[in-house]
Symmetry: C2
Subunit: 197 residues, 2 copies
Amino acid sequence: MPRQVDHKARRDQIAEALLDIVADHGLEAISVRAVAAQAGVSTGRIQHYFANKDELLAYAIEYQDWLVQQRWNEQAWPEGEPTPREALRWVLLETIPRDDRRRREWLVGVAYLIRMLANPKLRALYVDGLPRLYRLLADLVRMAQEAGDIAPDRDPEVEAELLFGLADSQGPPVVLGLRTPEQATAAIDYYLDHLFR
Amino acid sequence: MPRQVDHKARRDQIAEALLDIVADHGLEAISVRAVAAQAGVSTGRIQHYFANKDELLAYAIEYQDWLVQQRWNEQAWPEGEPTPREALRWVLLETIPRDDRRRREWLVGVAYLIRMLANPKLRALYVDGLPRLYRLLADLVRMAQEAGDIAPDRDPEVEAELLFGLADSQGPPVVLGLRTPEQATAAIDYYLDHLFR
DNA sequence: CTTTTTACAATACGTTCGTATTGCCAAAGC
DNA sequence: GCTTTGGCAATACGAACGTATTGTAAAAAG
């Protein structure tokens, strides 16, 4: 066997370029040539690593999903053992598009949503992830309740929905510049202050 | 002047076809020929009523925005003078994609979101609408408070954000079939039960 | 040193795209 | 009734598209 290259690295580099374009101009701006230009490679290279455009598109979100999971596995939780409140805050802030990386992830997620309707593999990325997130939030609320930091009459499932909804609904206004990430963070902190006592 | 036709009706019919395609397959599926086929007209007809593709795309969301405003102006409020709670519930349920019409509107809104980043005219549709919605929700909470139906220590602005977030976050799971519209409605009713007493 | 295979670059091919062009029919104005 | 003009259909055109094909440099295997 001749010259060996890191296949994943090459595919990831191409996926990076695709995700940049999608976040800026949507899926309709994706062409093999445009991705090649953004990545600074030839279309021949892209053809060498992806059988066709659909496979390229599919790899790119799977790659983004992998990126997100990497961050959650490595960075969570930032400093030692967090309290339920710290963990809750970390998770909620993680969902808002507060910096370039998270902004791109958020926009790409939006761009791929309609594709999920007809594509079961894409759908699974969302369908599997959301209930896990709800469960995590509810568990953290429960832990805080058991520690006496949240009033016992609060329903953890309902609180999980409210918290997620509050964080999730910050996405569009932040991305569109109607609200700053700081304001979105403040909204979440404000509600956490009410929830914890 | 010769034969006169209803220009708006023609344009709306074409916009309808475009919106159907966008909701099903995203903006990347839009071509003048595809819209013509969906509408059952010739591409010549589309060219006659729209200078180019961009103008067609722009007209279509403006048309959808007009449709939504029509419904809010005419159907709100369903039966006579509603209580603040009825009005609140009506508004919140209006934002969830519970039937084909609202589902299409929701999906089209998502599809156009990335275009709003670079297009001020599109952005305005969102940027103008959201604060008005927040204000409406907060006002309704305030009215209910003054009537003694909501505890006076609730912050109307915070409650507006929670209510909107709760309703808004139902969109993706409902559209993707993870949750039924009935379950989404139940989640909203459950929280309204807690808020009102 | 030769062979084989990987990793591409370059180009070619057929299709689809947005849009320009052309032509025709019907109705209103004179 | 002739002219004009709006309302199209049909077609044409160049660019861009996804992808197939071809060629080549280089490195591992023998």
